[in-house]
Amino acid sequence: MFDLLIMAVSWILMIVGCVFVVSGAVGLVRMPDLYTRLHAASLTDTGGTIVIGLALIIQAVFIFDNNMAAIKMGLIVFFTLFTGPTASHALAKTALLCGQVPVDADGKPILDSPEEATLLARSRPADYRHGEDAKRIEDEMDALNKKRRGEG
């Protein structure tokens, strides 16, 4: 009875994880734009790893009776929980810094130029408060905003 319950729970977790992982890959192929692809891939990466990892931890503890394997699987889930979002954040920021402009639902760019994307990536709130060149970034952003308002 207990074994049946354990198998049922880990089956359900494994199926849920497989759905996460496959839907993430389908999103990675079908989405139209870099940032939407990033959204699809990074969320399902972390979520799928957590859920499949939980299924494997349950298997290791109750079926295989191997606590060391459960601890190692827990470490993998723990590291993925940190490294997945960090890598996605770094990728999005570098893409913006290199001038990849995000597009809206109609496929139109939401920024005027790649240079504006670079400025947006460099303008952190901390720099406005503490950095020596905060004034320059602020002026450049103001000039760009003024230009956009003038044209629009």
Binding site: V22, A25, R37, D45, G53, F64, N66, A69, A87, A95
Partner: protein, 93 residues
């Protein structure tokens, strides 16, 4: 159960490789490769459990860490055109 998981992971890895070959920009390819690495970690773990030897988890753990470090290193190379020095960060603004 493990066979179902392995099949789903293999389908996922095939789709991810398709995006790696297709991806219009460098960042698409890098995202797909990072995703592929995470799926490889899961595949190694599930395969270890399927064959009844969970010792494969050591390899999966190391692969997870190396995958993260590799992605960050390539991204830093894109951003600063340099892996070692921090001098670009100072005159970046």
């Amino acid at each position: 159960m493990f066979i179902a998981g392995i099949l789903a992971l293999l389908v996922t890895m095939a789709l991810t490789l398709w995006r790696t070959l297709l991806g219009p920009t460098l960042f698409d390819r890098l995202l797909a490769v990072n995703s592929f690495g995470t799926k490889t970690v899961l595949l190694i773990a599930v395969y270890g459990f399927m064959t009844g030897r969970p010792d494969f988890l050591d390899i999966a753990l190391v692969y997870a860490l190396i995958n993260f470090v590799g992605t960050i290193a390539v991204l830093k190379f894109f951003e600063y055109d340099d892996l070692g020095s921090g001098k670009y960060q100072e005159d970046d603004f």
